[in-house]
Amino acid sequence: MKTKQLGRLANEYRAVIILIVFTVTLGVINPRFLHVGNVTNVLNQTSINALLAAGLTIVILTGGIDISVGSILAFTGATAAILMSHDVNVVLVVLLALLIGVVAGGFNGLFISRWNLQPMIVTLATLSIFRGATYLITNGSPVSVRSSLFRTIGGGKIFGVVPVPVVIMIVLFAVGHYVLTRTPFGRHIYAVGGNEEAAFLSGVSVTKTKLKAYVLSGALAAIAGLILTSRLASAQPLAGQGYELDAIAAAVIGGTSLKGGQGRILFTIIGALIIGMLNNALNLMDVSSYYQTVIKGLVILAAVLLDARSK
């Protein structure tokens, strides 16, 4: 019986195990991988995807999906850049960007929760809408950001060592974990995803729960948008394109079930780290980016297979 229990424990924490195995293997293959500079680099690169993945985890937990996050990221980044180019106060810009993320998420949430439309279709539509809006306001060209204050969001370091995006990522994941495990809203999310009808008959407001989930996804995409714009010191019209796939991959590798009702946000960060490390390692090994795309796809497939077989 003991081996069986160990086996089940290992399965539950398999994301962590994979991460450890990965780290050790890569460290052995290429010691450069474990240098502080590189580790910080990986964490930094991962932060954007991790934040998108966090939002996606919440949404997937309710049984839905949000593929518009890449476009929301771009739109909020572009708006921020444009506002700053008109000398709007940086703090105000950040708040406005967050607001836009909230409204965008709310827009998604309204169609999905109140009018019961399919999340895939709704967010597919808003993916286009927000991307188009981004082209419109940027006129199809990048918008530079000169504010050095703003650039600390993506480029600054706390105590000169820890990058700001990493801190943001850790703080938000901690908050997310708390909300999902220690608040009524968190219970509602798992209930709605686990059995929507039962949640409804139990008095949970399914509409409100789903709406809040998409609002959170939008807000997190906005934060990711601010970080990316800050790091690049410019807003790109094509920013975030395809990011939704990596985000979903991170959530799934972390064990979140696409059916809904199952998954832990802390494992999503592990999933994001695995993808980030994979990207980093492949880069260090000079693997062509075409191969990288194939490899990443295979990894995601393997993760989903493992997940399915573990049931």
């Binding site: 608040t183 209930a191 059995n195 039962a198 139990s202 008095g203 407001s205 009702g261």
Partner: protein, 492 residues
């Protein structure tokens, strides 16, 4: 007749943390019906899953037609002639009857489907069980009884020699039960061996030749029905004497009207009115499809109201969602605990607290210690059997799941509890526990609306009975006046 066609001996099967079967078994004879009985959790379902290849046994023997067999999947079992008709029917609604019967084993001729042959064969099979159905019609819209007939035809098309029927009468209205029994007699004449799983002990004496009793995963008895009596059977299943089937307590004289429904109407119910008093059990009887669940869901805000009103404690209320209903002190315990009663993927404590999170929330966050205390109390009070509060609800037996659904309702502090088929699919012992609970709730002043298809249950527990048919209240009976015949007469 009487020759043993299937024998299961000394079957042992364990799952992580639980020994499900420890020396279980049974014999099936040609042309005979063997009842497979036992409380929930006794192992009946596990034993059948091993037989049909869904699970693999740890040890033991299965002898089929004299040979030792082991099926690795359900296809092998059905190809060998062992068919199982599940509680949840496995038909595809938008396909036709013959398409369902031949699903996955379509007859072909020169590369295309031989529809004529399939239709003819289906017609023949249905004829064998005296069922008049057009093989070319869609399954959608067929009554449950008819759907079961199609499943039986399917089993026959597989040349099944052993047919396992899992709770076949559970969702059948009274009059259809007799047709089913007619079919079972037909199958007996055709020398099929039938395993009949049921919780309705009365049926065992009506239709079965032998009874096999499992208890805690072990084979306790295999006896001809002639040598048994009801109490004896119960004792074997439960291991102890069960006195008094339906504990009844007088309703409190304090007759304050807690819930008043007046001329309630919508798509499913028409002009329904009644009063529900504190400390009273109001039974709602009727056939499946009479609109009882719809009435309950309408009162509960899960279905819209077209006209009419609902008053709680004398005040007219507009309940447009279960959230609002709960706020007004009404709670509905669903008839379908797996479907919309519980969240199977969550654990016991999360399910129990789902409608009462308010009670364990301090400053916006959940007090996990309070949650544990409350759930432990409910676990003790309702005698919920679970290894721990963090056990996933899907792993528990039906009776315990039902108690968890009830606990959830109780935690919402309702004044009115609507119980929809609270003992469906539950064993005798757990049923008694739930009846005792219902009485305790009644004594503590709760008002209870009891929807049930089991006549003895309604007659035994209710102070007052409403009879519904096609969305309307057709009759009312006070406790002393009601009998099964009178109720049936109201419907006809």
């Amino acid at each position: 007749m009487g020759e043993v066609i299937l024998e299961m001996k000394g079957i042992v099967k364990s799952f992580p943390g639980v020994l499900a079967l420890n020396g279980a078994g049974l014999h099936v004879r040609r042309g005979e019906v063997t009842a497979l009985l036992g409380e929930n959790g006794a192992g009946k379902s596990t034993l059948m899953k091993i037989l049909t290849g869904v699970y693999k046994k740890d040890s033991g023997q299965i002898l089929y037609e004299g040979n030792e067999v082991e099926f690795s999947n359900s296809r092998q079992a059905s190809e060998a002639g062992i068919a199982i008709i599940h509680q949840e029917l496995n038909l595809i609604p938008h396909l036709r009857i013959y398409e369902n019967v031949f699903l996955g084993r379509e007859l072909t001729k020169s590369g295309g489907l031989d529809i004529k042959a399939m239709v003819e064969r289906t017609r023949e099979l249905l004829g064998r069980i005296n069922v008049q159905l057009d093989p070319t019609r869609e399954v959608k819209g067929l009554s449950i009884a008819m759907q079961q007939m199609v499943e039986i035809a399917k089993a026959l098309s597989l040349n099944a020699k052993v047919i396992v029927m899992d709770e076949p009468t559970d969702t059948l209205p009274e009059e259809e039960v007799n047709s089913l029994f007619g079919i079972v007699e037909e199958l007996k004449k055709q020398e099929k061996g039938i395993v009949y799983i049921t919780h309705r002990l009365g049926e065992v004496f009506r239709i079965c030749d032998r009874a096999t009793v499992l208890r805690d995963g072990e084979l306790v008895a295999e006896l001809p029905v002639g040598e048994l009596d009801y109490d004896g059977l119960v004792r074997m299943m439960v291991g102890r004497q069960l006195t008094e089937q339906f504990p009844y307590t007088e309703s409190r004289v304090d007759g304050e009207v807690v819930l008043r429904v007046s001329h309630l109407s919508n798509e499913f119910v028409h002009d329904v009115s009644f009063d529900l008093k504190r400390g009273q059990v109001l039974g709602i009887s009727g056939l499946a499809g009479a609109g009882r669940t719809e009435l309950a869901k309408t009162i509960y805000g899960a279905l819209p109201v077209d006209s009419g009103s609902v008053e709680v404690l004398g005040k007219r209320v507009s309940i447009t969602s279960p959230t609002a209903a709960i706020r007004h002190g009404i709670f509905y315990v669903s008839e379908d605990r797996k479907g919309d009663g519980l969240v199977l993927s969550l654990d016991v404590k999360s399910n129990i607290t789902l409608s009462g999170l308010r009670k364990i929330t301090r400053h916006g966050s959940l007090d996990l210690r309070a949650e544990n205390l409350i759930c432990t109390a409910y676990k003790a009070d309702l005698q919920i059997r679970t290894p721990s509060l963090t056990q996933l609800v899907r792993n528990l037996s039906g009776g315990n799941q039902q108690k968890i659904a009830l606990a959830k309702g109780l935690m919402s502090d309702p004044q009115v509890l609507i119980l929809d088929e609270p003992t469906r699919g539950i064993d005798v012992g757990a049923k008694k526990e739930i009846y005792t609970l219902i009485n305790a709730l009644k004594e503590s002043g709760k008002a209870i609306l009891l929807i049930s298809s089991e006549m003895p249950e309604i007659l035994g527990l209710s102070d007052h009975i409403l009879v519904m048919h096609e969305g309307r209240v057709r009759g009312q009976f006070a406790r002393g006046d009601a009998t099964q015949e009178k109720i049936m007469a109201t419907i006809v």
